[in-house]
Amino acid sequence: MMAHATRRRLPIQAVAGTVPMILVSVGVFIIGIGASVLWSFTSSKLFPAYDFVGLQQYRRLWADARWLISVNNIWIFGLLSIACNMVFGYLLAVFMDQRIRQEDTFRSIFLYPFAMSLIVTGLVWQWALDPNLGLQQTVRNWGWTDFSFAPLVDAKTAIYGLVVAGIWQGSGVTMAILLAGLRGVDAEIWKAARVDGIPTWRTHLFIVAPMMRGAFATAFVLQCVAVVRVYDLVIAMTGGGPGIATTMPAVYVIQMITVRQNVGQGMAGATMMLLPILLVLALGGILAWRRKRKGVAA
């Protein structure tokens, strides 16, 4: 990177190139997020107002059963879908690494779910998990008459229906990332492990997987982003139901703003959603700053 920096023309051109980009990002994100956070401390109803009420909206938010369910749901959805995606993605990647024929075809097919709109994904899975049309009835029709798999109709299990769709959507792209990581592992490692008589699964678990930290981190970040933003899948698949069983933070905030016309509390929810990401960013910033200082000192 520094090699690029040695000789350059007038920096004014570089500045002129980046300024619109930075202006746009700053304008939208900083001002937008700033306003949202500000309104979360007010008693705004249908329209934002500026009578500050301190932390009242947050207190109300955390006393709202609907919000608690949302937070609970996003944990279940996030943990389960990320864990399953990682496991399935890794298995698929190991499997694709066997140099099977027409690898490109398979990669395309495995990636299709990720390239599709979550609205369509939600609809397709709503249908597939419909007790009278989808999987359950089909399997029953094959003769297994008491087969039962209709998570969406029961409030207790509906969230797992969303997880199924999430796995279908995300495992292919995880595979693509992990496959690239797997291909980057030195072939000698495999030979050495075989010579030492280490079983294949242990080589995978204790030698190869730790070497692919970068690929796993990329996949993990990508999935986390998808989980925090999850909105359209819920809207298309369950609409937050049955009842409020599958409501998610983003759905909650939108409902707060539109249906219940309580911008203040909605913004408190939105701020809570921003918080984890801001914390991670701040942490990253502090770490980078400390590293830089150490570099200067040394």
């Binding site: 990177m1 090699a3 690029h4 023309r9 051109q13 570089a14 500045v15 002129a16 190139g17 980046t18 619109p20 930075i22 746009v24 990002s25 939208v28 994100f29 937008g32 997020i33 306003a35 949202s36 499997f95 694709m96 066997q98 140099r99 490109d104 398979f106 097919i109 495995f110 990636l111 779910p113 390239a115 709109s117 979550l118 609205i119 369509v120 939600g122 609809l123 397709v124 709503q126 597939a128 049309l133 029709n141 792209v173 496959l179 797997l182 072939a187 495999w190 970040v221 990508l222 982003v225 909105y231 359209d232 298309a236 933070p249 983003a250 905030v253 939108i254 921003l274 990401i277 960013l281």
Partner: protein, 276 residues
């Protein structure tokens, strides 16, 4: 790793790959097949795999009843429009970051990329109010702007990673030969950057095509693209599976076709350039 694989094992792996691929692809395939069935056949039991009576009436009816092509056209306009608009802003930015980096360049890039991780609800209300006061709600122009904004970080990041692969020596050589800046850009940089720009455009078009959060919340009947249209079709009329499938099929068909031919670029884009 290039481990030797015996032909028999390889063959069995290929068969297994087909089974996994079919399982993954089945929901999509089923949607496409259902779109060619009559409503009656779509809920038939036992389900018929291939449509017993092939028909195009679903497509006709979806168009007749809700003017499907208007929404299709909206999708095309906003995804291509936002991509072109985005290029105008991101190409100069990525260019200067890649070829005249400063100490802060990496920080700025990471910061921009991190805005992509923010939940969109955090900025919805301010943007909604701005749009309302500017009369941009439910307009194609407003939607194009907002889709451009949300995809800017990915675009600039993608372009940056592509531009970084262009050897700076070539640019310097052309400068030595007396090329002025615009000539350097048009004749030297652009031809080498075209593949990168093309993949970035492709990715952005797909992202904009699939975007649902903003399209659902900022549009009504007028500017609704396909995602919002299909979502509106879903809940109350949930029983019309064949028609819903027809609408969905038309919405994903472009993605399936583009995805098939540009799988490598897609992987790279969707993993933020982590997979080359």
């Amino acid at each position: 790793m290039a481990r030797a694989v015996s032909p028999r094992r390889k063959w069995s792996f290929t068969v297994l790959a087909w089974i996994v691929a079919l399982l993954l692809f089945f929901p999509i395939l089923w949607t496409i097949l259902t779109s060619f069935k009559t409503e009656g056949d779509a809920i038939l039991f036992p389900p018929a795999f291939l449509p017993p009576h092939w028909t195009l009436e679903n497509f006709v009816e979806v168009q007749d009843r809700s003017n499907y092509f208007k929404h299709f056209f909206n999708s095309v306009v906003i995804s291509i429009g936002s991509t072109l608009l985005g290029l105008v802003i991101t190409v100069p930015a990525a260019w200067s970051m890649a070829f005249s980096p400063t100490k802060r360049t990496k920080d700025i890039l990471m910061w921009m990329l991190s805005t992509k991780m923010m939940p969109a609800v955090g900025v919805l209300v301010p943007i909604y109010l701005i749009f309302k006061s500017l009369n941009l709600l439910d307009s194609l122009f407003g939607l194009t702007i907002i889709l451009m904004l949300i995809n800017l970080p990915i675009m600039v990041w993608m372009l940056y990673t592509y531009f970084r692969e262009i050897p700076v020596d070539i640019l310097e050589a052309s400068r030595m030969d007396g090329a002025v800046l615009w000539k350097e850009i048009v004749y030297v940089l652009l031809p080498m950057a075209i593949p990168g720009i093309a993949s970035t455009m492709l990715l952005n078009i797909i992202l904009a095509w699939n975007e649902a959060f903003w399209t659902l919340n900022l549009t009504a009947a007028n500017a609704a693209p396909l995602t919002a249209f299909i979502a509106s079709y879903s809940s109350p009329e949930g029983l019309f599976w064949a028609k819903l499938s027809a609408a969905s099929t038309l919405a994903i068909a472009p993605i399936l076709v583009i995805g098939w031919f540009s799988q490598k670029q897609l992987v790279r884009g969707m993993t933020f350039g982590a997979v080359k």
